[in-house]
């Protein structure tokens, strides 16, 4: 393809050894079957598509078609494995800059499309599929809620090209009437507001943070590291289909406290 | 943002708790817990700086006009006018009197 590749496209390729892409989907959702721990695993990425039917979703954003296509792919995976005792792993390969912003998007219900994706991933996890979110680049906002945040386990690269947040710096700065520099300065002192992956890690939401030598041009050592991390994540995911493993960090202690107190008062 | 602590003589006792208001623009949240004794202690967190005098004056006037119950009051203020502040405070006193 002559299209621009994001990190997700690159890593999808490497992790599935260039396996053929699932046919019949919009070009911005790429699905290939590979393996983790010697067993079949399905890899899913959202990638840029210059020819996207919806012009506001050309840059790898999660828009109307992407949301519903993710819902379709993951739901069909669940259906295919319905009779199996061991469900195959699903790996969301994540480099999504945001949800798509546009008039058509709002008018045609992008919020519902993203819900379709989130529901499908959550259903997969509840059905016993180990769902792993592999954050190789950006994991922003609604796009991440739809593609990755319902995973049992989240793995991220320890790299300046990895950004996980609720709103991009420029938008956040404008909305809060600050300069980007002022926002960055403030954000650096408040872990949940920060834009860097080191601060994100202190929130206890990741199961692994990987040092990768070449995130844009993976070498075999990088691949081995990621594959090993996927094996661990999948094995752990098979023992727990909830998101409880995200409640252990000191920087998230209020989240645990609220649950404890509410249970006691219920 | 400021933290202010005040206390005033109370001339009656009630029992129970009451809540009024929300921390919205131009409003404030008041929580009141009745205690025994003869003092109303007030802890205020306000978005308006340099407002201690205003709060002091507000409560001084209230003490003149009405019988203040003993207890602990917590205020989270987001720019309530003296009028709105007084309404919220009177709301909690009224509610706790009927408790």
């Amino acid at each position: 393809m002559s299209q621009k590749l994001n990190r997700a496209a690159i890593w999808l390729d490497k992790l599935t050894a260039n396996a053929p892409r699932m046919a019949g989907l919009c070009a911005s959702v790429q699905v290939a079957d590979g393996s983790v721990d010697g067993k079949a695993a399905r890899f899913i990425a959202v990638v840029p598509d210059e020819n996207n039917h919806y012009p506001r979703a050309k840059g790898g954003e999660v828009g109307l078609l992407e949301g519903w296509t993710l819902a379709k792919v993951v739901s069909e995976t669940i259906a295919e494995d319905a009779e199996k005792t061991e469900k195959r792993a699903i790996v969301a390969v994540i480099d999504v800059p945001s949800q798509a912003y546009g008039r058509r998007e709002e008018a045609f219900g992008i919020h519902q499309a993203l819900a379709g994706a989130a529901a499908a991933y959550a259903n997969a996890r509840l059905a016993g599929h180990p769902v792993v979110g592999l954050i190789v680049g950006k994991a922003m906002s609604g796009a991440f809620l739809a593609h990755g945040y319902q995973a049992n386990r989240l793995i991220a690269f320890n790299d300046s090209g990895v950004m996980i947040h609720a709103m991009g710096k420029e938008s956040a700065a404008r909305i809060t009437l600050r300069t980007v520099e002022a926002l960055e300065k403030l954000a650096a002192t408040i872990p949940p507001m920060a834009y860097d992956i080191s601060n994100y890690e202190t929130l206890g939401l990741l199961s692994a943070l990987l040092d990768i030598a070449e995130p844009e041009a993976p070498q075999s050592a990088d691949l081995e590291k990621v594959n090993a991390a996927l094996v661990t994540a999948v094995r752990e995911a098979r023992t727990d289909n909830t998101l409880k493993n995200r409640l252990n960090a000191k920087n998230r202690q209020s989240s645990a406290l609220v649950r404890e107190r509410m249970r006691a008062a219920w | 943002m400021e933290h202010i602590t005040l206390s005033f003589p109370a001339t009656r006792t009630v029992s129970g708790k009451a809540l009024a208001g929300v921390v919205g623009s131009g409003d404030m949240e008041v929580l009141f817990t009745a205690t025994q004794g003869d003092t109303l202690t007030i802890a205020i967190t306000t978005s308006v700086d340099n407002s201690e005098q205003r709060w002091q004056a507000l409560f001084s006037r209230l003490v003149e006009l009405t019988s203040i119950p003993a207890g602990q009051m917590q205020i989270h203020d987001f720019g309530a006018t003296p009028g709105v502040a007084r309404i919220r405070i009177e709301q909690v006193f009224e509610e706790v009197s009927h408790a």
Partner: protein
């Protein structure tokens, strides 16, 4: 009959009280427990004692229920670590109840702009927990969402709304993913004029969402009207298919739609079909 007083004008606590059977309201983690945001003070922002989230157990038509209501007046109803955890925890406990044979019903009053930017990643993570909990709970019992206004329901919480089994809205309400100002900033004023109120409601208002089949009930602004709609939704039980599972229909409509024209009221009607008069 009784005159039907405004639901929109009610604060979250009153909405929860009135949606539950008379006298059954019991608040959990109430303001006097003082579990506030651990992040706002350091930024010079005044906290609210319940962090803008009311969780109340009680009964609805005699059956066990929990109403979880967002206070839209506090920080625009935005979701922080604590407010998000309160909603998620209540939904998680309701699901556990159902697994243990207690048919606890959940009703969500959604009045929110989405993530609280001052708590960014913890707000977002809490919303992911809420999504997980809704999908879990709705297998056992319908999860009912009410979006009344004036704030509406945006951001990651619009996704939560779309995960609900049934959605009830008023005409005043809006339901959309991105706030109008952000769309205008990202895509330009020709794409989305954030100050054009009739335009915004024509895209994301309660009426158009109802006509599009994205919500189940459109009600007048009245406490009794909302209560009745909630009861009707509960009575329907778990739907045969949640809207989120209808991906084949939406994909077909969206893939084949002519996107050479911009969206307008006519385009919306054509895409979704005229489901109701």
């Amino acid at each position: 009959m009784r005159n039907d007083s405004s639901f929109i004008e009610l604060k979250a606590r009153e909405r929860a009280r009135l949606l539950l059977d008379d006298g059954s309201f019991r608040e959990l983690l109430d303001p006097f427990e003082g579990i506030v945001s651990p992040w706002l003070e350091a930024q010079g922002i005044v906290v609210q004692s319940d962090d803008g989230m009311v969780v109340a157990k009680g009964t609805i038509n005699g059956g066990p229920a929990v109403v979880i209501a967002i206070e839209g007046a506090f920080q625009g109803g935005s979701m922080g670590e604590v407010s998000g955890a309160k909603m998620a925890a209540a939904l998680e406990l309701a699901a556990e109840d159902n697994r243990n044979g207690i048919p606890t019903q959940a009703v969500l009053c959604l009045e929110t702009g989405g993530v609280r930017l001052q708590e960014a990643n913890l707000g977002l993570a809490a919303i992911a927990d809420i999504h997980a909990a809704i999908v879990d709970l709705r297998r056992y019992t319908p999860v009912i969402g009410v979006v009344a206004g004036t704030v509406g329901c945006f951001g990651g919480m619009s996704i939560a709304a779309a995960l609900c089994s049934y959605l009830i809205v008023t005409r005043e309400a809006r339901l959309g993913l991105n706030g109008p100002q952000v769309i205008e900033q990202e895509a330009g004023i020709d794409e989305y004029d954030s100050r054009n109120r009739p335009f915004i409601w024509s895209m994301t208002g309660g009426e158009v969402r109802y006509q599009s089949g994205l919500v189940e009930a459109l009600v007048g602004d009245g406490v009794n009207a909302v209560k009745q709609a909630v009861n009707d939704a509960i009575a329907k039980g778990v739907p045969a298919q949640h809207r989120t599972d209808n991906y084949a229909w939406y994909l077909e409509r969206l893939s084949n739609f002519d996107t050479s024209k911009q969206a307008d009221a006519e385009q919306i009607k054509q895409l979704f079909g005229e489901k109701r008069a």
